[in-house]
Symmetry: C2
Subunit: 596 residues, 2 copies
């Protein structure tokens, strides 16, 4: 059973309570989004996700997309759902009002994204890619392009894509071959083949705006010779109506492990007319503006799937009767107790819950920083926010998607044999979540980005935006009666992280393979320290609320138990990855390639 109700109470806790003291100040320009509006938006989004997107999630997986006469057809119900999505203004939720969007803060927008990803990850990719394309277009496009395309994309009338990968190059974009020939009218003719293009073609919108990486004739080799082009599926006329097909279309769709209702296309461009975005040979820069947004978005995908997996597992654990509680019969009128009484089922549910709440807390923190980067009145706070976003982007992407995938599999395990059967819909979560660890840069690439770029950048300045609040918090609360034990655990993990950082800084300086060998373990350790910090803070707030005699006793008590579970059960093994990190590269690199 795929079961979902947006965790609005926890979302509000993260938006309003957890990060009040994050040092980013009061943000400007979001005055319209007060608490009432925030609640109203979350509740409306929940309705859309629960009542419109969720019901077509499993049928969409079973039906999949298909290609007919060169046109991709989405599964039944997707067109109607997309129409409702656009009519509700969701396509432009985070887009500037200048382009007809709502201009909502990331702090709110990411919560809505989480809901969409929970309810229907495949569906979410269609507007998701459009959102990413708008980021690059807004930041690097000419005014003419922006004025023409942005409003159509913000309304959802037209969608967008990112066309990077080619059969022989994914991570290593320096090898890409697609070409762009300049024309006299200032446009370009783009020719080449792309693969793995999400939403590359579909029947949800009349037109699709492809952002395509290609080489100009005079391009230097490697990544320094890549430019970015806007290539529409249909060439629009000046009045916005559609003209000729632009020879930019799908040649096939991929048969994938999951995410089957999202069309992943092989694309062909043949003298397709396009326009340069940004400067020649600087396409990667523009693409990275989009990629960074997308990476946080992909992290949220992991969280979204983790949340619905958790809720669906809880539903079953309360419903399925099997065995009796070891501490005495709990359901005397039934033939057996619900399996939620069993410790090992609890272990799985609590693990998923802690992953989700921990990820949501870190995500809210990063989202605040995404907002503060532009909307904080203090230049120093903006700078700190920017550093923090840079540091945490790969962590959010890799950690959340790893945990989301793990949660999906825990849900399958809670369902037992029934989880392996397609009809219950739970194994779909595991198949869908799996891609998020791969696309927008594999999680290994994220870890390399963290240790290879984000750590050394400006002598570790990014890291200070994270280390400072954590060490301050530990210092301030070490002798706190209520959360002292958690602080001790956090301090130990933070110590392991500092030691690991020292190891990477010292060894990696001389030998970059040493840093790379530590990367994946280090990213996880850093991510768990970030979650631990958020859990300790949350527990502190919860204790204070309980002392005050809050009406929401259950919510805050549950928050404390989940935090305790995290410190008792989940943090210690990750902390010990410090030993793996400091063991160095030799056992990883000594094996000759031919011995494998």
């Amino acid at each position: 059973m795929q079961v979902y109700e947006a965790p609005i109470r926890d979302m509000l806790f993260n938006i309003n309570e957890l990060h009040e003291d994050d040092g980013f100040g009061n943000l400007e320009g979001f005055e319209d989004f007060d608490e009432d509006v925030t609640v109203a938006i979350l509740e409306e989004a929940n309705k859309l996700c629960r009542d419109v997107l969720l019901p077509i999630n499993w049928p969409g997986d079973q039906e999949g997309c298909r290609i007919e006469n060169g046109v991709v057809r989405t599964p039944k119900g997707f067109q109607e759902a997309y129409k409702q999505f656009c009519e509700g203004g969701w396509a432009g939720l985070g887009v500037s009002q200048e382009w007809g969007g709502q201009g909502a803060p990331h702090s709110l927008g990411k919560m809505v994204e989480e809901m969409t990803c929970s309810a229907n990850l495949s569906f979410g990719l269609y507007p998701g890619l459009t959102g990413g394309a708008m980021v690059a277009l807004e930041a690097y496009g000419s005014d003419e392009l922006k004025n023409f395309y942005m409003p159509k994309m913000a309304s959802g009338e037209w969608s967008g894509t990112m066309c990077l990968t080619e059969p022989h190059c994914g991570t290593d974009l320096g090898m890409l071959r697609t070409k762009a020939e300049p024309q006299d009218d200032g446009s370009y003719l783009v020719t080449g083949n792309k693969i793995f293009i999400s939403a590359g073609d579909h029947d949800l919108t009349d037109n699709i705006v492809h952002l395509v990486l290609a080489r100009l004739p005079d391009a230097p080799p490697g990544v320094k010779g890549i430019s970015l082009f806007l290539v529409p599926k249909y060439l629009p006329k000046d009045d916005g109506s559609l003209g000729n097909h632009n020879n930019a279309g799908p040649t096939a769709i991929e048969h994938k492990m999951g995410l089957k209702a999202s069309a992943t296309c092989q694309m062909s461009f043949e003298d397709s007319k396009g326009w340069l975005i940004g400067k020649p040979h600087r396409g990667l820069e523009a693409m990275f503006a989009m990629m960074n947004t997308e990476r946080v978005a992909v992290g949220i995908q992991g969280l979204g799937v983790g949340e619905i997996a958790y809720q669906s597992a809880v539903y079953y654990a309360k419903d399925r009767l099997q065995g009796r509680s070891l501490s005495g019969v709990k359901n005397p009128d039934g033939p057996a107790d619900p399996i939620i009484v069993h410790p090992d089922i609890r272990r799985m549910l609590m693990t998923m819950r802690a992953y989700n709440e921990g990820s949501r807390a870190v995500s809210a923190w990063v989202s605040r920083a995404l907002d503060a980067e532009h909307a904080s009145p203090e230049p120093e706070a903006r700078e700190r926010a920017k550093d923090f976003v840079a540091l945490m982007t790969p962590v959010v992407k890799a950690l959340f998607t790893d945990l989301g995938h793990e949660s999906a599999h825990l849900a399958v395990q809670v369902y037992g044999g029934h989880g392996y059967i397609q009809e219950t819909g739970v194994e779909q979560f595991a198949r869908d979540a799996r891609i998020a660890q791969i696309y927008e840069g594999t999680n290994g690439i994220q870890a390399l980005d963290l240790v290879g770029r984000k750590l050394p950048d400006r002598m570790g300045k990014n890291l200070r935006s994270f280390f400072h609040p954590v060490s301050q918090f530990i210092e301030d609360h070490g002798s706190d009666e209520k959360i002292g034990k958690m602080i001790a655990g956090l301090q130990q993990a933070f110590g392991a992280l500092q030691m690991s950082t020292g190891h990477i800084a010292q060894k990696g300086m001389k030998d970059p393979e040493e840093a790379a060998a530590a990367a994946t373990d280090y990213l996880r350790l850093l991510g768990f320290v970030a979650m631990g910090y958020c859990f300790a803070k949350a527990a502190k707030i919860a204790h204070a609320k309980l002392e005050e005699g809050t009406q929401e006793k259950d919510f805050y008590e549950a928050k404390i138990i989940t935090a305790r579970y995290f410190f008792d059960r989940l943090l210690p093994p990750v902390m010990a990855q410090m030993m793996a990190i400091t063991s160095g590269k030799s056992s990883m690199m000594d094996m000759p390639a031919e011995a494998f």
Copy 2:
């Protein structure tokens, strides 16, 4: 690419070198299986698996099984492959010569099973279930039943199943409802519905011998009222030819996440004629004879998938060109280096390799004990072997299947985007491996079996069969120049295991939920100590061989590097699970069910 060549050299290392001093003595009755015969059998099995079973693995996944007019059809090529399998005598490899089998030791048979599971897990289930059914039949069946059925099953002419699960009861078999009415001729009429029956119907054999759990009219409630019956699909005549259909057949097949070429059936029995196996109401005992064998076999499935996942990932890591080595260009004539040069790819390959070699070593140890249990000339050694098998059966089942699934996902990750596409065949490993963590008792149930039954049994006697050799080895080699560092790591992990055992013994005595809350972490810790012990022993042997000036320098050097990787990178986080174990049940159990 699904790539496979049986790891025969490592198998021989495990059969002949690693466990020589295991204290089980020289086993009797396997004189025919000298080294030449062993090598010949492994090589023949490799040919069958690589050349016959592997080529139909991916097509079988794509085509799946189907049900037509009440009969299940296996995918193209399965019938022909099964014929070859039987003609080669593989169906009876481990079956006593009394019934026409080969009588090979488990030490050899499990290696062949690993190969089958690597090459084609779905295929392997058909003869695998027959093997399990033969174990129960041989141990508990009447001479009449055995004489009639065993030869037909040992040759593979007829296959077998285990029919346990019903829609409302899987783990909790006490609730089962299928009924058996005694008849005047000593037979029974069995009526009821079963689900999740592997190989419940298919077109590989003329007849199928179902072992069915059902209740007699006078059965007491719960698990003490369950009996086991042999119910053939067709009622055989006295001469062995087939008579009437026995109303024992499939009503549907399940649509599963993976293992699609294995028919998982919903079965209906309607006044189907059957014969009692063992005593009335003692069916669970007979079923457990079969279950225990099957649990080790399922563990081997995890290892098998892990091995082909590893090999397929290595193939791609050497083939795929992307990026340049951080320590200098390795493939100057190509546009990029093969990705095996990158540390994070190494991390994934070495992890898979260590899991596989570690699992194979433990599996060989347990297989030796399975043989020694019956074939050791010394009663004490037989007793010790039996204790060891009892202890390790849940560990083999749960740990190997967890690691196999993890390896399959690491392989997908090595393939990146191409791993998510069905055509490369790698995501199939992940989908196929997933079931092994669930069936034959979920891995959570295995952990409960370990801490709830196997640990306390006879005041911890089972555990001594494992603790004794490990502590002896640590004592003997603590100051070994070559492996001293590994011994230090092993000692630390062993200490964590002892402390965890003490926690469970002490707390679990008063409160069984405390033991249950520790179970899954404890199983993993115990399993990793077992692998660590095997790796340290293997490294010791390898160092000695290298000192002697062996011809196989590469093999032994690789063994040492893999062992180092295990101790450096994989053992520390698992060791730290001791902290999770000793934190107790409270953070797991305190949350009220309604707060989830």
